[in-house]
């Protein structure tokens, strides 16, 4: 059974199918057909839930390049299953939503082809056990993300955002690939499970930390962690369903998934703990801080996504401490952080997906996403308003919504970390809950901005372009389903916890058996609850006094942003490469030849001298007869005379002398076939030259400067000397026996007495066949060149 491998491939097959069917669907929207794919896949994965919740795993392998240890191995455990359910479930909702969101002028086939491409690639990322297969799918998600951000490619901002996201994520991806290769050279396998099993043997390996940081680079760029977060706000140029799907619910979680996957490999040491935790916390704070100042609803959500991703990331960092303690009470305590991370990952997908869909509805119905032009929409869009309240209150961590539960667990983890006795956390650990609390206050503020500035206050209908009414029912279905989850997960969190989160947790930290967490909505009056109360009080106060402290953002000088840094880096890179290229790409053929020959002299001649290979030994030479000496002299004189020939006719005749002399050499050196061929070819070549000279002008003396001539002579002599030295060196030593003895069996093997001919027609017939093909192509080229006459004007048209 290769059900899981098929599940990955189905979206790709369907993608290939789209161009064939999109013209034949008639009045049915293409989205309805596409919707079948995520629905079927979702049900496939739902069926696996009972197996996985029994702590079983599934593995299926198709051998791909077994000699290199590269197999298409699919491995399904709790973590993969959560991701797969998110990918297919959110995929189905987003496809459904997009049917109503896209306008008829958009290209449906492109949109759905890219979306399915992404879905397949993302499933590949979370299900692959082989690192290289994972990498391929990883980059495929970057490419499909690029295509989707640039979906409205006629907009400059879309193209800019697409390029930015591609450059940053692929840069990280390449780093990750290097990390994977290091892991392979440490452990000798590409299989993640085998690496997890054997990594304990290599704690002191020199590549351990480089591999760790490179893989983290991949994870941080993909999950938009500080300071690589700058691509995510620009990715909001994508259509809103894409933002909801790729840039909040799934693709940006690939980095988180990677960190979770590699926690058992690298977790348990201080470097991993502090890097992941601090990067996560800084991202959490910075994202929330930037979100507060945004005036575009989507930009606000983008920064809030960055912030929430940082939160999940920091939880994985905190949880990695569990591996330091191993099985026991302490281990179970910190293992809770990983549990909270997984829980929040699911919750974030639900409320952020709903919020993006709300923004899409507002944008679609009102025509703007600018907070300054919105207000008082509650009356016009009551249902949408309800969704917005549910989603953003959950994000703010208010009770009776799933965000409350995971936020409480986050506080628990951060408070626990403050008293962590290892990694030097006893002195610095107190920073963790403080940052967490401040960021949460800011989160509360922007959630309030999102709801109240959009839906309360005076209606600004005069400024809006369209009539404000609720959208069609279809557009409300997807956010409604998500809102049901937001509330449902609050009241029955352990349904999710027992069946999915706990198996996933056991997959990440299998050695800690004591970690059997249970989610409670009520913990009594403890620190976490007071932290939440504080957030509500301080956050409300800050929201109400928003106008008086907004000036704080002006403290940061304009232009001192990471985006400005990125822009100027790209600009200078372009300028520098342009400068270098225009300086050596002169468009002048002799320059290029000069580079080639100079490089040849340096590389080949240098290698000859520095390796000490140079040796000249004349003892094994065969004797020289008088004819041969004379012929050599004739050729040398003829060759040098060509340089001084006054007309091209003379030069070609001298070349003929060379050619016919070589034919005689072939006779002397016992090569009758070559002599015959050379004679005929030389004749035909000379005829060809003479024919062309009918049309070409007489050549004139070189008008180059003395310096150029000197340079050319220097290069020519250098190359000639190099060739001679290499030839003499090779001639004076015999490293291995000649293989030609084999061909002397040509009568037995090929039935021919002529060895040369047997080699051409039988032993190495492939060469000969391709050679005749080259000849044929050259003939076609000549014919085409002669027959293809460009009109006088047509050449210019091409440049216009």
């Amino acid at each position: 059974m290769y059900l899981l491998i098929l599940a990955i491939l189905v979206p790709f097959f369907f993608t290939a199918f789209i161009p064939l069917i999109h013209n034949r669907v008639g009045s049915i929207h293409l989205g309805w057909l596409v919707l079948v794919v995520p629905l079927v896949l979702f049900s496939i994965f739902v069926v696996q839930v009972p197996t996985i919740s029994n702590s079983d795993t599934l593995m299926q392998t198709v051998h791909w390049i077994p000699s290199l240890g590269i197999n298409f191995t699919v491995y399904l455990d709790g973590l993969s299953l959560i991701m797969a359910l998110l990918i297919t479930g959110m995929g189905a909702l987003v496809v459904l939503y997009s049917i109503y969101y896209l306008s008829p002028s958009d290209s449906f086939p492109h949109f759905y082809a890219y979306l399915l491409l992404f879905m397949g690639a993302m499933l590949g990322v979370v299900l692959s056990d082989n690192l290289l297969v994972l990498y391929v799918f990883w980059e495929l998600t970057s490419i499909s993300s690029f295509l989707l951000i640039a979906f409205w490619y006629h907009r400059k901002n879309s193209r800019y955002g697409a390029q930015k996201s591609l450059l940053i994520t692929v840069f990280g991806g390449l780093g990750m690939l290097a990390g994977f290769l290091m892991l392979h050279s440490m452990t000798g396998t590409f299989s993640i499970r085998e690496i997890v099993a054997t990594i304990g043997q290599y704690p002191e390996h020199a590549l351990f930390y480089p591999a760790m940081f490179l893989i983290l680079l991949g994870a941080f760029t993909k999950s938009a962690q500080f300071p690589f977060h700058i691509w995510l706000p620009d990715a909001m140029e994508a259509p809103t369903p894409v933002s909801a799907y790729l840039h909040s619910a799934t693709m940006v979680k690939a980095g988180i998934y990677l960190v979770a996957r590699f926690t058992p490999v690298f977790g348990g040491n201080a470097a991993w703990f502090w890097t992941v935790t601090l990067v996560g916390l800084v991202t959490l704070f910075w994202g929330a801080y930037c979100a507060v100042r945004q005036t575009d609803l989507k930009a606000l959500l983008a920064y809030s996504t960055i912030s929430q991703l940082g939160l999940i990331m920091s939880l994985f960092g905190l949880g990695s401490a569990a591996l330091h303690f191993g099985d026991g009470e302490q281990g179970a305590l910190y293992g809770l952080a990983i549990f909270a991370a997984l829980f929040h990952m699911v919750n974030h997908s639900t409320f952020k997906g709903a919020l993006f869909m709300v923004v899409g509805i507002v944008d679609h119905q009102v025509g703007t996403r600018d907070i300054r032009r919105l207000g008082g929409l509650m009356a016009a869009l009551p249902i949408t308003f309800t969704f917005a309240v549910i989603g953003s209150f959950s994000m703010a961590g208010l009770p009776f919504l799933n965000g409350f539960l995971s936020k409480e667990m986050f506080f628990t983890a951060s408070v626990n970390a403050a008293s962590l006795p290892i990694f030097g956390a006893s002195t610095w650990g107190i920073v963790i809950p403080i940052i967490a609390w401040i960021a949460s206050v800011l989160t509360f503020v922007y959630c309030m901005i999102f709801v109240f500035r959009t839906f309360f206050g005076t209606p600004q209908s005069k400024k809006a372009d369209r009539k404000q009414v609720e959208p069609t029912l279809g557009m409300l279905v997807s956010p409604a389903i998500l809102c049901v989850f937001i509330i449902g997960l609050f009241f029955a969190p352990n349904l999710l916890g027992d069946h999915l989160l706990r198996p996933a947790l056991n997959g990440i930290i299998p050695e800690i058996s004591g970690a059997t967490p249970h989610i409670y909505a009520w913990h009594g009056f403890n620190t976490e609850l007071f932290m939440t109360l504080g957030i509500v009080i301080v956050g409300s106060a800050l929201y109400l006094t928003f106008r008086s402290w907004i000036k704080i953002f002006r403290l940061q000088p304009a232009g001192w942003t990471f985006t400005a840094l990125y822009n100027s880096f790209l600009k200078n890179l372009k300028r520098a490469s342009n400068w270098i290229t225009t300086h050596y790409m002169t468009g002048h053929l002799p320059s290029y030849f000069a580079y080639i020959f100079m490089f040849f002299i340096l590389a080949a001649g240098g290698a000859l001298i520095f390796t000490g290979a140079l040796s000249i030994d004349l003892t094994s030479d065969s004797p020289i007869s008088v004819y041969e000496g004379l012929l050599t002299a004739v050729m040398a004189i003829a060759a040098i005379s060509i340089l001084f020939a006054k007309s091209h006719l003379a030069a070609v005749l001298l070349n003929g002398v060379l050619g016919f002399s070589i034919a005689i050499f072939f006779v002397l050196f016992r090569a009758p076939d070559l002599a015959l061929t050379q004679l005929v070819i030389e004749t035909v070549t000379t005829v060809l030259f003479l024919l062309c000279f009918l049309f070409l002008p007489e050549w004139t003396a070189e008008d180059s400067s003395k310096r150029t001539k000197f340079r050319n002579a220097f290069i020519a002599i250098g190359a000639g000397v190099t060739i001679t030295l290499i030839g003499l060196t090779v001639n004076s030593g015999k490293l291995f026996e000649s293989i030609s003895g084999y061909f002397e069996n040509s009568y037995e093997l090929a039935g021919g007495d002529n060895i040369v001919n047997a080699i051409l027609g039988d032993f190495r017939a492939f060469d000969t066949m391709l050679e005749s093909l080259v000849l044929f192509i050259a003939g076609l080229g000549v014919y085409t060149l002669i027959r293809l006459k460009l009109g006088k004007g047509s050449g210019k048209d091409e440049h216009q």
Binding site: N754, G761, F766, V782, Y783
Partner: protein, 140 residues
Amino acid sequence: MNINDVILKTVSKAVVLIILTFGIYLFFSGHNHPGGGFIGGLVIASAFVLMFLSYDSETVSEALPIDFKKLSGLGVLLAMSSGIAPMFLGGAFLSQSFGYFDLPIFGKTELATVTIFEAGIALTVIGVVVNIILSISEDE
């Protein structure tokens, strides 16, 4: 028509025949003696080139209605298909075989599939060489 042309045309009539015979001989002798597809093809091509040089191309084309472009394509096709054929018999691409047969008149004769391959090469060479020379000389 000057006297040189008359001499050239008369001589080439005889010489072309000799060159063609020699070329065909070289082609078939290549298996055991100097010669083969390349050389045979080149020599035959040079006979054609001589014909085109001594007469004008219209006259030759009338007497010899061959499209040399198609001939070269045919040659490549023949060489390749002679390589593909053994694949259907379980051999590798381009594997050649040979055998000895008793034929009337010739007596014991060796027949080898490599001859078909060589014929493809020869046709390609003839087609390309003549085509190149013709293309240039016919231009303007």
